[in-house]
Protein backbone atom coordinates (compact mmCIF):
# COMPACT_ATOMS: atom_id res chain seq x y z
CA UNK A 1 0.00 0.00 0.00
CA UNK A 2 1.39 3.33 -0.99
CA UNK A 3 0.41 5.70 1.76
CA UNK A 4 2.64 8.49 0.46
CA UNK A 5 0.12 9.23 -2.25
CA UNK A 6 -2.43 10.00 0.41
CA UNK A 7 -0.34 12.69 2.01
CA UNK A 8 -1.72 16.09 1.19
CA UNK A 9 0.11 19.28 0.39
CA UNK A 10 0.05 20.67 3.94
CA UNK A 11 1.46 17.54 5.49
CA UNK A 12 4.06 17.01 2.74
CA UNK A 13 5.26 20.59 3.10
CA UNK A 14 5.49 20.50 6.90
CA UNK A 15 7.13 17.06 6.96
CA UNK A 16 9.79 18.22 4.53
CA UNK A 17 10.58 21.30 6.57
CA UNK A 18 10.61 19.30 9.77
CA UNK A 19 12.96 16.78 8.21
CA UNK A 20 15.47 19.54 7.52
CA UNK A 21 15.59 20.04 11.29
CA UNK A 22 13.50 23.18 11.33
CA UNK A 23 10.83 23.88 13.94
CA UNK A 24 7.50 24.77 12.38
CA UNK A 25 5.66 28.05 12.78
CA UNK A 26 2.02 28.51 11.77
CA UNK A 27 0.38 31.93 12.02
CA UNK A 28 -3.36 32.51 12.39
CA UNK A 29 -4.90 35.63 10.91
CA UNK A 30 -8.59 36.55 10.96
CA UNK A 31 -9.83 36.74 7.38
CA UNK A 32 -11.85 39.81 6.55
CA UNK A 33 -10.23 41.97 9.19
CA UNK A 34 -8.90 45.17 7.63
CA UNK A 35 -5.46 44.57 6.15
CA UNK A 36 -5.55 40.79 6.62
CA UNK A 37 -4.26 39.93 3.13
CA UNK A 38 -1.11 42.01 3.54
CA UNK A 39 -0.66 40.53 7.00
CA UNK A 40 -0.84 36.99 5.58
CA UNK A 41 1.77 37.74 2.94
CA UNK A 42 4.07 39.48 5.41
CA UNK A 43 3.74 36.61 7.88
CA UNK A 44 4.80 34.13 5.21
CA UNK A 45 7.69 36.31 4.09
CA UNK A 46 8.84 36.67 7.69
CA UNK A 47 9.12 32.94 8.14
CA UNK A 48 5.72 31.32 8.80
CA UNK A 49 5.62 27.77 7.39
CA UNK A 50 1.89 27.80 6.87
CA UNK A 51 -0.97 30.22 7.37
CA UNK A 52 -4.26 29.63 9.13
CA UNK A 53 -6.92 31.92 7.74
CA UNK A 54 -9.87 32.45 10.03
CA UNK A 55 -13.29 32.62 8.43
CA UNK A 56 -15.21 34.64 11.01
CA UNK A 57 -18.19 32.93 12.64
CA UNK A 58 -20.89 34.49 14.80
CA UNK A 59 -20.27 32.14 17.73
CA UNK A 60 -16.56 31.37 18.05
CA UNK A 61 -16.76 29.18 21.13
CA UNK A 62 -13.08 28.08 21.15
CA UNK A 63 -11.81 31.65 20.89
CA UNK A 64 -10.83 34.09 23.60
CA UNK A 65 -11.38 37.87 23.62
CA UNK A 66 -8.78 38.87 21.00
CA UNK A 67 -9.93 36.60 18.18
CA UNK A 68 -13.57 37.09 19.17
CA UNK A 69 -13.13 40.81 18.77
CA UNK A 70 -11.37 40.56 15.42
CA UNK A 71 -14.06 38.17 14.17
CA UNK A 72 -16.85 40.45 15.25
CA UNK A 73 -15.24 43.49 13.62
CA UNK A 74 -14.66 41.53 10.42
CA UNK A 75 -18.28 40.33 10.38
CA UNK A 76 -19.55 43.84 10.93
CA UNK A 77 -17.38 44.94 8.01
CA UNK A 78 -19.18 42.38 5.85
CA UNK A 79 -16.78 39.43 5.87
CA UNK A 80 -18.30 36.17 4.67
CA UNK A 81 -16.89 32.78 3.70
CA UNK A 82 -17.19 33.84 0.06
CA UNK A 83 -15.45 37.20 0.50
CA UNK A 84 -12.57 35.70 2.47
CA UNK A 85 -12.06 32.74 0.16
CA UNK A 86 -12.27 34.90 -2.96
CA UNK A 87 -9.13 36.71 -1.83
CA UNK A 88 -7.05 33.59 -1.18
CA UNK A 89 -5.99 32.78 -4.80
CA UNK A 90 -4.39 36.23 -5.02
CA UNK A 91 -2.30 35.75 -1.89
CA UNK A 92 1.38 35.42 -2.66
CA UNK A 93 2.78 33.32 0.18
CA UNK A 94 4.50 30.21 -1.18
CA UNK A 95 3.27 28.21 1.84
CA UNK A 96 0.16 26.06 2.43
CA UNK A 97 -3.07 27.59 3.68
CA UNK A 98 -5.55 26.20 6.16
CA UNK A 99 -8.87 27.71 7.08
CA UNK A 100 -9.94 27.79 10.67
CA UNK A 101 -13.66 28.23 11.16
CA UNK A 102 -16.64 26.63 12.85
CA UNK A 103 -18.61 23.66 11.69
CA UNK A 104 -21.95 25.33 11.00
CA UNK A 105 -20.54 27.16 7.98
CA UNK A 106 -19.59 23.80 6.44
CA UNK A 107 -22.83 22.19 7.53
CA UNK A 108 -24.96 24.98 6.16
CA UNK A 109 -23.24 25.06 2.77
CA UNK A 110 -23.22 21.25 2.59
CA UNK A 111 -20.02 19.25 3.10
CA UNK A 112 -19.28 18.62 -0.58
CA UNK A 113 -19.95 22.17 -1.63
CA UNK A 114 -17.94 23.70 1.19
CA UNK A 115 -14.98 21.39 0.62
CA UNK A 116 -15.03 22.08 -3.11
CA UNK A 117 -15.13 25.84 -2.51
CA UNK A 118 -12.11 25.58 -0.22
CA UNK A 119 -10.20 23.49 -2.75
CA UNK A 120 -11.04 25.83 -5.60
CA UNK A 121 -9.81 28.79 -3.56
CA UNK A 122 -6.36 27.35 -3.00
CA UNK A 123 -6.98 26.13 0.54
CA UNK A 124 -5.16 22.94 1.54
CA UNK A 125 -6.60 22.15 4.94
CA UNK A 126 -9.40 22.89 7.39
CA UNK A 127 -9.61 23.21 11.15
CA UNK A 128 -13.07 23.02 12.70
CA UNK A 129 -12.61 23.19 16.48
CA UNK A 130 -16.22 22.43 17.35
CA UNK A 131 -16.28 19.25 15.28
CA UNK A 132 -14.77 16.56 17.51
CA UNK A 133 -13.67 13.16 16.26
CA UNK A 134 -16.98 11.43 17.13
CA UNK A 135 -18.95 13.74 14.84
CA UNK A 136 -16.34 14.31 12.16
CA UNK A 137 -16.42 11.30 9.83
CA UNK A 138 -18.93 12.62 7.25
CA UNK A 139 -17.08 15.92 6.92
CA UNK A 140 -13.63 14.31 6.79
CA UNK A 141 -14.73 12.01 3.99
CA UNK A 142 -16.16 14.83 1.91
CA UNK A 143 -13.10 16.96 2.58
CA UNK A 144 -10.68 14.19 1.65
CA UNK A 145 -12.58 13.58 -1.58
CA UNK A 146 -12.03 17.22 -2.49
CA UNK A 147 -8.37 17.11 -1.50
CA UNK A 148 -8.81 19.05 1.74
CA UNK A 149 -6.85 17.84 4.75
CA UNK A 150 -8.83 18.00 8.02
CA UNK A 151 -6.60 18.92 10.94
CA UNK A 152 -7.92 17.40 14.17
CA UNK A 153 -7.43 18.87 17.63
CA UNK A 154 -6.08 16.77 20.48
CA UNK A 155 -6.83 18.11 23.97
CA UNK A 156 -5.11 17.61 27.30
CA UNK A 157 -8.28 15.78 28.38
CA UNK A 158 -8.33 13.35 25.43
CA UNK A 159 -8.06 9.78 26.71
CA UNK A 160 -5.31 7.51 25.41
CA UNK A 161 -7.44 5.24 23.22
CA UNK A 162 -9.06 8.12 21.39
CA UNK A 163 -5.79 9.99 21.00
CA UNK A 164 -4.44 7.28 18.71
CA UNK A 165 -7.61 7.32 16.57
CA UNK A 166 -7.60 11.08 16.48
CA UNK A 167 -3.97 11.31 15.34
CA UNK A 168 -4.69 8.65 12.74
CA UNK A 169 -7.69 10.59 11.43
CA UNK A 170 -5.91 13.94 11.40
CA UNK A 171 -4.46 15.12 8.09
CA UNK A 172 -2.00 17.94 7.50
CA UNK A 173 -0.73 17.92 11.06
CA UNK A 174 -1.99 17.17 14.54
CA UNK A 175 -3.11 20.24 16.48
CA UNK A 176 -2.16 19.72 20.11
CA UNK A 177 -4.26 22.08 22.22
CA UNK A 178 -1.75 23.38 24.75
CA UNK A 179 -4.05 24.03 27.66
CA UNK A 180 -7.52 23.70 29.10
CA UNK A 181 -9.08 26.80 27.69
CA UNK A 182 -9.77 28.96 24.69
CA UNK A 183 -7.37 30.87 22.46
CA UNK A 184 -5.44 33.73 24.00
CA UNK A 185 -2.02 34.64 25.30
CA UNK A 186 -1.00 33.48 28.76
CA UNK A 187 1.80 34.66 31.05
CA UNK A 188 3.37 31.22 31.21
CA UNK A 189 3.36 28.11 29.09
CA UNK A 190 0.98 25.59 30.65
CA UNK A 191 2.49 22.28 31.76
CA UNK A 192 -0.13 20.60 29.60
CA UNK A 193 1.46 22.06 26.45
CA UNK A 194 4.47 19.77 26.35
CA UNK A 195 2.51 16.93 27.94
CA UNK A 196 -0.11 16.68 25.19
CA UNK A 197 2.46 17.18 22.41
CA UNK A 198 4.52 14.36 23.86
CA UNK A 199 1.50 12.07 24.05
CA UNK A 200 0.66 12.80 20.42
CA UNK A 201 4.19 12.18 19.27
CA UNK A 202 4.11 8.76 20.90
CA UNK A 203 1.30 7.65 18.64
CA UNK A 204 1.99 9.45 15.36
CA UNK A 205 4.84 10.54 13.14
CA UNK A 206 2.74 13.28 11.59
CA UNK A 207 3.87 16.79 12.45
CA UNK A 208 2.56 17.72 15.90
CA UNK A 209 2.06 21.44 16.44
CA UNK A 210 1.06 23.02 19.72
CA UNK A 211 -1.40 25.88 19.70
CA UNK A 212 -3.65 27.87 22.09
CA UNK A 213 -1.95 29.82 24.83
CA UNK A 214 1.40 30.57 23.23
CA UNK A 215 2.20 34.24 23.73
CA UNK A 216 5.96 34.73 23.41
CA UNK A 217 8.92 33.43 21.39
CA UNK A 218 10.36 31.97 24.62
CA UNK A 219 7.15 29.97 25.18
CA UNK A 220 7.31 28.80 21.56
CA UNK A 221 10.85 27.53 22.06
CA UNK A 222 9.81 25.78 25.25
CA UNK A 223 6.83 24.14 23.53
CA UNK A 224 9.11 23.00 20.70
CA UNK A 225 11.30 21.10 23.10
CA UNK A 226 8.68 18.43 22.48
CA UNK A 227 6.42 19.57 19.63
CA UNK A 228 7.44 19.89 15.98
CA UNK A 229 6.16 23.43 15.92
CA UNK A 230 3.69 25.97 17.22
CA UNK A 231 0.59 27.80 16.09
CA UNK A 232 0.26 31.41 17.18
CA UNK A 233 -2.98 33.29 16.83
CA UNK A 234 -4.08 35.82 19.43
CA UNK A 235 -0.65 37.37 19.71
CA UNK A 236 -0.66 37.93 15.93
CA UNK A 237 -4.20 39.26 15.75
CA UNK A 238 -3.55 41.60 18.67
CA UNK A 239 -0.98 43.39 16.46
CA UNK A 240 -3.74 44.02 13.94
CA UNK A 241 -6.22 45.17 16.62
CA UNK A 242 -3.55 47.52 17.99
CA UNK A 243 -3.17 49.08 14.56
CA UNK A 244 0.36 47.84 13.92
CA UNK A 245 -0.70 46.43 10.57
CA UNK A 246 1.21 44.02 8.37
CA UNK A 247 4.52 45.47 9.43
CA UNK A 248 3.84 44.74 13.09
CA UNK A 249 2.81 41.20 12.17
CA UNK A 250 5.98 40.75 10.10
CA UNK A 251 8.20 41.87 13.00
CA UNK A 252 6.39 39.55 15.37
CA UNK A 253 6.68 36.52 13.10
CA UNK A 254 10.37 37.26 12.53
CA UNK A 255 10.96 37.30 16.28
CA UNK A 256 9.38 33.85 16.60
CA UNK A 257 11.28 32.56 13.57
CA UNK A 258 14.59 33.74 14.95
CA UNK A 259 13.91 32.29 18.38
CA UNK A 260 12.88 28.91 16.95
CA UNK A 261 15.86 28.79 14.58
CA UNK A 262 18.21 29.65 17.40
CA UNK A 263 16.57 26.84 19.40
Amino acid sequence: MNSASKIGRMERFLRDRRDTGSKLLVAYITGGYEGWEAAVETAAAAGADAIEIGIPFSDPVMDGPVIQKASQIALEAGASPASVLAAVPNLDTGVPHAVMTYYNLAHHAGHERFAATLANSGIDAAILPDLPLVESAPWREAAAAAGIETIMLAAPTTPEDRLADLCEASKGFVYAVGLLGVTGERANLAATATEIAGRCKQVTDKPVLTGVGIGSPEQAVEACSVADGVIIGSTVVRRLLDGEGAEGVGDLIASYRNALDAG
Binding site: D59, Q72, H107, T157, T158
Partner: protein, 389 residues
Protein backbone atom coordinates in the same frame (compact mmCIF):
# COMPACT_ATOMS: atom_id res chain seq x y z
CA UNK B 1 -42.16 5.40 20.89
CA UNK B 2 -41.16 9.03 21.23
CA UNK B 3 -39.50 10.76 24.19
CA UNK B 4 -37.58 7.70 25.30
CA UNK B 5 -33.79 7.43 25.31
CA UNK B 6 -31.79 8.92 22.43
CA UNK B 7 -29.31 6.83 20.45
CA UNK B 8 -25.82 6.10 21.82
CA UNK B 9 -24.56 9.22 20.07
CA UNK B 10 -27.31 11.29 21.63
CA UNK B 11 -29.45 11.59 18.51
CA UNK B 12 -33.20 12.08 18.28
CA UNK B 13 -33.67 11.08 14.69
CA UNK B 14 -30.99 13.08 12.90
CA UNK B 15 -30.94 15.81 15.57
CA UNK B 16 -28.74 16.17 18.65
CA UNK B 17 -25.20 14.84 18.86
CA UNK B 18 -22.15 16.21 20.58
CA UNK B 19 -20.60 19.08 18.62
CA UNK B 20 -18.20 20.45 21.20
CA UNK B 21 -14.45 21.07 21.22
CA UNK B 22 -12.46 17.92 21.88
CA UNK B 23 -11.50 19.31 25.31
CA UNK B 24 -15.13 18.91 26.42
CA UNK B 25 -15.88 15.52 24.88
CA UNK B 26 -14.48 13.58 27.86
CA UNK B 27 -16.51 15.80 30.23
CA UNK B 28 -19.69 15.02 28.28
CA UNK B 29 -18.85 11.32 28.37
CA UNK B 30 -18.20 11.45 32.10
CA UNK B 31 -21.46 13.31 32.65
CA UNK B 32 -23.42 10.83 30.59
CA UNK B 33 -22.01 7.92 32.54
CA UNK B 34 -22.59 9.63 35.87
CA UNK B 35 -26.16 10.47 34.93
CA UNK B 36 -26.96 6.91 33.82
CA UNK B 37 -25.45 5.58 37.01
CA UNK B 38 -27.23 8.08 39.27
CA UNK B 39 -30.62 7.68 37.63
CA UNK B 40 -30.36 3.92 38.19
CA UNK B 41 -29.53 4.47 41.84
CA UNK B 42 -32.73 4.56 43.91
CA UNK B 43 -30.98 6.58 46.62
CA UNK B 44 -30.16 9.35 44.15
CA UNK B 45 -33.65 9.43 42.70
CA UNK B 46 -35.12 9.47 46.19
CA UNK B 47 -32.95 12.38 47.29
CA UNK B 48 -33.85 14.27 44.09
CA UNK B 49 -37.57 13.91 44.70
CA UNK B 50 -37.17 14.59 48.41
CA UNK B 51 -35.51 17.93 47.75
CA UNK B 52 -38.08 18.83 45.08
CA UNK B 53 -40.77 18.14 47.67
CA UNK B 54 -39.30 19.62 50.86
CA UNK B 55 -37.40 22.48 49.31
CA UNK B 56 -38.93 23.00 45.88
CA UNK B 57 -42.56 22.75 46.93
CA UNK B 58 -43.62 19.92 44.63
CA UNK B 59 -46.00 18.64 43.56
CA UNK B 60 -47.11 21.85 41.87
CA UNK B 61 -50.84 22.46 41.78
CA UNK B 62 -53.17 21.94 38.84
CA UNK B 63 -55.46 24.96 38.65
CA UNK B 64 -58.70 25.03 36.77
CA UNK B 65 -59.33 28.48 35.26
CA UNK B 66 -63.07 28.88 35.66
CA UNK B 67 -63.44 32.47 34.52
CA UNK B 68 -60.96 32.19 31.66
CA UNK B 69 -62.59 28.96 30.50
CA UNK B 70 -65.95 30.64 30.42
CA UNK B 71 -64.63 33.61 28.48
CA UNK B 72 -62.77 31.49 25.89
CA UNK B 73 -65.20 28.61 25.81
CA UNK B 74 -62.17 26.38 26.23
CA UNK B 75 -61.56 24.44 29.44
CA UNK B 76 -58.12 25.67 30.55
CA UNK B 77 -56.08 23.90 33.22
CA UNK B 78 -52.81 25.36 34.43
CA UNK B 79 -49.87 23.30 35.63
CA UNK B 80 -48.53 25.67 38.22
CA UNK B 81 -44.74 25.58 37.86
CA UNK B 82 -44.85 29.25 38.86
CA UNK B 83 -45.50 28.09 42.42
CA UNK B 84 -42.18 26.27 42.69
CA UNK B 85 -39.44 27.69 44.84
CA UNK B 86 -37.55 30.35 42.85
CA UNK B 87 -40.62 30.91 40.69
CA UNK B 88 -40.31 28.61 37.72
CA UNK B 89 -39.85 25.06 36.46
CA UNK B 90 -36.08 25.64 36.27
CA UNK B 91 -35.53 24.38 39.84
CA UNK B 92 -36.31 20.76 38.84
CA UNK B 93 -33.39 20.51 36.45
CA UNK B 94 -31.04 22.47 38.62
CA UNK B 95 -31.55 20.30 41.70
CA UNK B 96 -30.90 17.24 39.54
CA UNK B 97 -27.72 18.62 38.02
CA UNK B 98 -26.37 20.05 41.27
CA UNK B 99 -26.83 16.70 43.01
CA UNK B 100 -25.13 15.02 40.06
CA UNK B 101 -22.25 17.50 40.14
CA UNK B 102 -21.72 16.80 43.81
CA UNK B 103 -21.77 13.07 43.12
CA UNK B 104 -19.09 13.60 40.46
CA UNK B 105 -16.94 15.48 42.96
CA UNK B 106 -17.29 18.86 41.26
CA UNK B 107 -17.34 21.83 43.58
CA UNK B 108 -18.25 24.62 41.16
CA UNK B 109 -21.26 25.32 38.95
CA UNK B 110 -21.36 27.61 35.95
CA UNK B 111 -24.57 28.51 34.18
CA UNK B 112 -25.95 30.76 31.48
CA UNK B 113 -29.14 32.65 32.00
CA UNK B 114 -31.52 34.68 29.89
CA UNK B 115 -34.41 35.88 32.00
CA UNK B 116 -32.39 35.11 35.08
CA UNK B 117 -34.69 32.31 36.23
CA UNK B 118 -32.20 29.56 35.50
CA UNK B 119 -29.42 31.66 37.03
CA UNK B 120 -31.45 32.21 40.19
CA UNK B 121 -32.30 28.51 40.37
CA UNK B 122 -28.65 27.54 39.91
CA UNK B 123 -27.49 30.06 42.51
CA UNK B 124 -30.12 28.63 44.86
CA UNK B 125 -28.98 25.05 44.37
CA UNK B 126 -25.35 26.12 44.84
CA UNK B 127 -26.25 27.78 48.13
CA UNK B 128 -28.21 24.72 49.23
CA UNK B 129 -25.40 22.29 48.41
CA UNK B 130 -22.52 24.60 49.36
CA UNK B 131 -21.02 24.98 45.90
CA UNK B 132 -19.33 27.87 44.15
CA UNK B 133 -21.46 29.43 41.41
CA UNK B 134 -20.86 31.72 38.47
CA UNK B 135 -23.64 32.82 36.14
CA UNK B 136 -23.12 34.33 32.70
CA UNK B 137 -25.75 36.78 31.54
CA UNK B 138 -25.93 39.03 28.48
CA UNK B 139 -25.61 42.75 29.07
CA UNK B 140 -29.00 43.36 27.49
CA UNK B 141 -30.65 40.82 29.76
CA UNK B 142 -28.96 42.19 32.87
CA UNK B 143 -30.68 45.45 32.12
CA UNK B 144 -34.05 43.83 31.43
CA UNK B 145 -33.87 41.62 34.50
CA UNK B 146 -32.07 43.72 37.06
CA UNK B 147 -33.97 42.23 39.94
CA UNK B 148 -32.88 38.70 39.13
CA UNK B 149 -29.25 39.84 38.95
CA UNK B 150 -29.49 41.07 42.52
CA UNK B 151 -31.28 37.90 43.61
CA UNK B 152 -28.40 35.81 42.28
CA UNK B 153 -25.92 38.00 44.10
CA UNK B 154 -27.90 37.70 47.33
CA UNK B 155 -27.69 33.94 46.93
CA UNK B 156 -23.91 34.19 46.78
CA UNK B 157 -23.38 33.73 43.05
CA UNK B 158 -21.08 35.80 40.89
CA UNK B 159 -22.89 37.25 37.88
CA UNK B 160 -20.67 37.99 34.91
CA UNK B 161 -21.93 40.31 32.21
CA UNK B 162 -21.46 39.15 28.61
CA UNK B 163 -20.84 41.91 26.10
CA UNK B 164 -20.02 39.87 22.99
CA UNK B 165 -22.33 39.24 20.02
CA UNK B 166 -26.01 39.87 20.67
CA UNK B 167 -25.34 40.29 24.42
CA UNK B 168 -28.24 37.93 25.22
CA UNK B 169 -28.76 34.26 26.02
CA UNK B 170 -26.91 32.89 22.96
CA UNK B 171 -23.72 34.67 23.93
CA UNK B 172 -24.12 33.79 27.58
CA UNK B 173 -24.08 30.12 26.50
CA UNK B 174 -20.86 30.72 24.51
CA UNK B 175 -19.23 32.33 27.51
CA UNK B 176 -20.33 29.55 29.87
CA UNK B 177 -18.90 27.00 27.42
CA UNK B 178 -15.61 28.92 27.27
CA UNK B 179 -15.46 28.91 31.05
CA UNK B 180 -16.14 25.16 31.11
CA UNK B 181 -13.40 24.47 28.55
CA UNK B 182 -10.93 26.04 30.98
CA UNK B 183 -12.28 24.68 34.27
CA UNK B 184 -13.69 21.31 33.34
CA UNK B 185 -11.72 19.47 36.01
CA UNK B 186 -13.57 20.96 39.00
CA UNK B 187 -16.60 22.53 37.32
CA UNK B 188 -19.95 21.30 36.14
CA UNK B 189 -21.77 23.26 33.46
CA UNK B 190 -25.35 23.44 34.70
CA UNK B 191 -27.11 24.01 31.38
CA UNK B 192 -30.57 25.47 31.66
CA UNK B 193 -32.59 23.82 28.95
CA UNK B 194 -33.00 20.70 26.82
CA UNK B 195 -30.21 21.83 24.55
CA UNK B 196 -26.45 21.55 24.21
CA UNK B 197 -24.37 18.43 23.63
CA UNK B 198 -25.47 14.92 24.59
CA UNK B 199 -26.40 14.05 27.36
CA UNK B 200 -27.89 17.45 28.25
CA UNK B 201 -31.09 17.40 26.15
CA UNK B 202 -31.98 13.96 27.43
CA UNK B 203 -30.82 14.52 31.02
CA UNK B 204 -32.59 17.88 31.40
CA UNK B 205 -35.82 16.44 29.99
CA UNK B 206 -35.53 13.54 32.45
CA UNK B 207 -35.23 15.92 35.41
CA UNK B 208 -38.33 17.78 34.17
CA UNK B 209 -40.31 14.58 33.53
CA UNK B 210 -41.84 15.11 36.96
CA UNK B 211 -43.95 17.95 35.51
CA UNK B 212 -45.59 15.64 32.98
CA UNK B 213 -45.95 12.75 35.43
CA UNK B 214 -47.73 14.90 37.99
CA UNK B 215 -49.92 16.62 35.42
CA UNK B 216 -51.00 13.31 33.93
CA UNK B 217 -52.10 11.99 37.33
CA UNK B 218 -53.75 15.27 38.26
CA UNK B 219 -55.72 15.28 35.01
CA UNK B 220 -56.85 11.71 35.56
CA UNK B 221 -57.84 12.51 39.15
CA UNK B 222 -59.78 15.57 38.07
CA UNK B 223 -61.41 14.38 34.84
CA UNK B 224 -60.71 10.66 34.55
CA UNK B 225 -59.30 11.48 31.13
CA UNK B 226 -56.40 13.21 29.41
CA UNK B 227 -56.65 16.76 28.13
CA UNK B 228 -57.12 17.25 24.39
CA UNK B 229 -54.19 19.59 24.08
CA UNK B 230 -51.01 20.18 26.06
CA UNK B 231 -49.38 23.54 25.41
CA UNK B 232 -46.15 25.13 26.63
CA UNK B 233 -43.83 27.93 25.59
CA UNK B 234 -40.53 27.02 23.95
CA UNK B 235 -37.23 28.78 24.33
CA UNK B 236 -34.75 25.92 24.51
CA UNK B 237 -37.77 23.78 25.30
CA UNK B 238 -37.29 22.38 28.79
CA UNK B 239 -40.65 23.14 30.34
CA UNK B 240 -42.34 21.92 27.17
CA UNK B 241 -40.27 18.73 27.14
CA UNK B 242 -41.13 18.12 30.78
CA UNK B 243 -44.87 18.34 30.33
CA UNK B 244 -44.90 16.69 26.87
CA UNK B 245 -43.06 13.67 28.25
CA UNK B 246 -46.04 12.87 30.47
CA UNK B 247 -48.28 12.54 27.42
CA UNK B 248 -45.92 11.45 24.63
CA UNK B 249 -47.38 7.92 24.59
CA UNK B 250 -50.97 9.18 24.22
CA UNK B 251 -52.69 10.83 21.28
CA UNK B 252 -52.91 14.17 23.08
CA UNK B 253 -52.08 17.08 20.79
CA UNK B 254 -48.73 18.62 21.80
CA UNK B 255 -48.16 22.30 21.08
CA UNK B 256 -44.94 24.24 21.71
CA UNK B 257 -45.27 27.99 21.28
CA UNK B 258 -42.30 29.98 20.01
CA UNK B 259 -41.90 33.76 19.98
CA UNK B 260 -42.34 35.14 16.47
CA UNK B 261 -38.86 36.67 16.65
CA UNK B 262 -37.24 33.38 17.65
CA UNK B 263 -39.17 30.74 15.75
CA UNK B 264 -36.36 28.25 15.17
CA UNK B 265 -38.71 25.33 14.55
CA UNK B 266 -41.08 27.53 12.61
CA UNK B 267 -38.36 28.45 10.16
CA UNK B 268 -37.07 24.89 10.10
CA UNK B 269 -33.46 25.26 8.97
CA UNK B 270 -31.08 22.77 10.62
CA UNK B 271 -27.79 24.02 11.98
CA UNK B 272 -25.11 23.36 14.57
CA UNK B 273 -24.32 25.58 17.52
CA UNK B 274 -23.87 25.09 21.26
CA UNK B 275 -23.02 21.44 20.82
CA UNK B 276 -26.14 20.28 19.00
CA UNK B 277 -27.62 19.79 15.56
CA UNK B 278 -31.09 21.25 15.64
CA UNK B 279 -33.22 23.91 14.01
CA UNK B 280 -31.41 27.21 14.18
CA UNK B 281 -32.01 30.79 13.09
CA UNK B 282 -29.18 31.62 10.71
CA UNK B 283 -28.45 33.75 7.69
CA UNK B 284 -27.83 32.56 4.15
CA UNK B 285 -24.24 31.42 4.88
CA UNK B 286 -24.82 29.92 8.30
CA UNK B 287 -24.01 32.77 10.69
CA UNK B 288 -26.29 32.41 13.69
CA UNK B 289 -28.88 35.14 13.89
CA UNK B 290 -30.10 36.96 16.92
CA UNK B 291 -33.55 36.13 18.19
CA UNK B 292 -35.78 38.99 19.16
CA UNK B 293 -38.46 38.59 21.74
CA UNK B 294 -40.08 40.58 24.49
CA UNK B 295 -39.12 37.80 26.90
CA UNK B 296 -35.46 37.30 27.69
CA UNK B 297 -36.06 33.62 28.45
CA UNK B 298 -37.20 32.88 24.90
CA UNK B 299 -34.62 35.07 23.19
CA UNK B 300 -32.73 32.13 21.79
CA UNK B 301 -32.05 31.33 18.12
CA UNK B 302 -32.02 27.56 18.57
CA UNK B 303 -34.24 24.92 20.12
CA UNK B 304 -33.62 21.62 21.84
CA UNK B 305 -32.93 18.79 19.35
CA UNK B 306 -35.75 16.60 20.58
CA UNK B 307 -38.25 19.32 19.68
CA UNK B 308 -36.72 19.49 16.20
CA UNK B 309 -37.30 15.76 16.00
CA UNK B 310 -40.89 15.88 17.33
CA UNK B 311 -41.64 18.60 14.79
CA UNK B 312 -39.99 16.72 11.92
CA UNK B 313 -42.09 13.59 12.53
CA UNK B 314 -45.25 15.61 13.17
CA UNK B 315 -45.74 14.47 16.76
CA UNK B 316 -45.74 18.04 18.08
CA UNK B 317 -46.45 21.38 16.45
CA UNK B 318 -44.70 24.70 16.99
CA UNK B 319 -46.70 27.81 16.13
CA UNK B 320 -45.51 31.26 17.12
CA UNK B 321 -47.10 34.33 18.70
CA UNK B 322 -46.03 37.98 18.54
CA UNK B 323 -45.14 40.34 21.36
CA UNK B 324 -48.48 42.16 21.31
CA UNK B 325 -50.41 38.93 21.73
CA UNK B 326 -48.13 38.08 24.65
CA UNK B 327 -48.63 41.41 26.40
CA UNK B 328 -52.39 40.97 26.11
CA UNK B 329 -52.30 37.41 27.42
CA UNK B 330 -50.10 38.50 30.32
CA UNK B 331 -52.69 41.09 31.41
CA UNK B 332 -55.63 38.80 30.77
CA UNK B 333 -54.45 36.08 33.14
CA UNK B 334 -53.64 38.61 35.83
CA UNK B 335 -57.08 40.15 35.71
CA UNK B 336 -59.28 37.21 35.12
CA UNK B 337 -57.55 34.56 37.23
CA UNK B 338 -55.41 36.50 39.69
CA UNK B 339 -52.19 34.97 38.36
CA UNK B 340 -49.38 37.09 36.95
CA UNK B 341 -47.55 34.77 34.55
CA UNK B 342 -43.97 34.99 33.35
CA UNK B 343 -43.78 36.62 29.93
CA UNK B 344 -42.43 33.31 28.64
CA UNK B 345 -45.45 31.38 29.88
CA UNK B 346 -47.76 34.09 28.53
CA UNK B 347 -46.71 32.91 25.05
CA UNK B 348 -48.54 29.63 25.60
CA UNK B 349 -51.64 31.45 26.76
CA UNK B 350 -51.48 33.86 23.83
CA UNK B 351 -51.75 30.89 21.48
CA UNK B 352 -54.77 29.50 23.36
CA UNK B 353 -56.48 32.88 23.20
CA UNK B 354 -55.82 33.21 19.47
CA UNK B 355 -56.95 29.66 18.75
CA UNK B 356 -59.91 29.72 21.12
CA UNK B 357 -62.45 29.34 18.34
CA UNK B 358 -60.81 26.20 16.97
CA UNK B 359 -60.27 24.82 20.49
CA UNK B 360 -63.87 25.37 21.50
CA UNK B 361 -65.14 22.80 24.00
CA UNK B 362 -61.75 21.15 24.36
CA UNK B 363 -59.62 20.69 27.44
CA UNK B 364 -56.29 22.48 27.25
CA UNK B 365 -53.53 21.82 29.76
CA UNK B 366 -51.14 24.78 29.81
CA UNK B 367 -47.77 24.64 31.47
CA UNK B 368 -47.48 27.86 33.42
CA UNK B 369 -43.69 27.66 33.52
CA UNK B 370 -43.07 30.65 35.77
CA UNK B 371 -44.44 33.62 37.61
CA UNK B 372 -44.30 37.16 36.38
CA UNK B 373 -42.77 39.01 39.31
CA UNK B 374 -39.51 39.34 37.39
CA UNK B 375 -41.37 40.94 34.47
CA UNK B 376 -43.40 43.51 36.34
CA UNK B 377 -40.77 46.21 35.91
CA UNK B 378 -40.53 45.64 32.18
CA UNK B 379 -44.30 45.60 31.83
CA UNK B 380 -44.57 48.83 33.74
CA UNK B 381 -42.37 50.43 31.10
CA UNK B 382 -44.33 48.87 28.25
CA UNK B 383 -47.76 49.70 29.61
CA UNK B 384 -46.81 52.96 31.28
CA UNK B 385 -47.51 53.64 34.96
CA UNK B 386 -51.19 54.00 35.62
CA UNK B 387 -52.02 52.84 32.13
CA UNK B 388 -54.29 49.86 32.50
CA UNK B 389 -55.56 49.85 28.94
Amino acid sequence: MVMTDPTDGGRFGEFGGRFVPETLVPACEELEEAFRDAWNDPAFVKEFHQILTDFGGRPSALTECFRLSEQLDVRVLLKREDLNHTGSHKINNVIGQALLARRMGKSRLVAETGAGQHGVATATAAALLDMECKVYMGEVDMERQELNVFRMQLLGAEVESVSSGSRTLKDAVNEALRDWVATVENTHYCLGSVMGPHPYPWMVRTFHHVIGDEAREQCLALMKRFPDVVVACVGGGSNAAGIFSGFADTDVRLVGVEPAGGAAVGRGVPGVVHGMLSYLLQDEVGQVQEAESISAGLDYPGVGPEHAYLASIGRAEYPSVNDDEVVNAFQLLARIEGIIPALESAHALAWVVREAASLRGQVVLLNLSGRGDKDVDQMMTILGPGNKQ
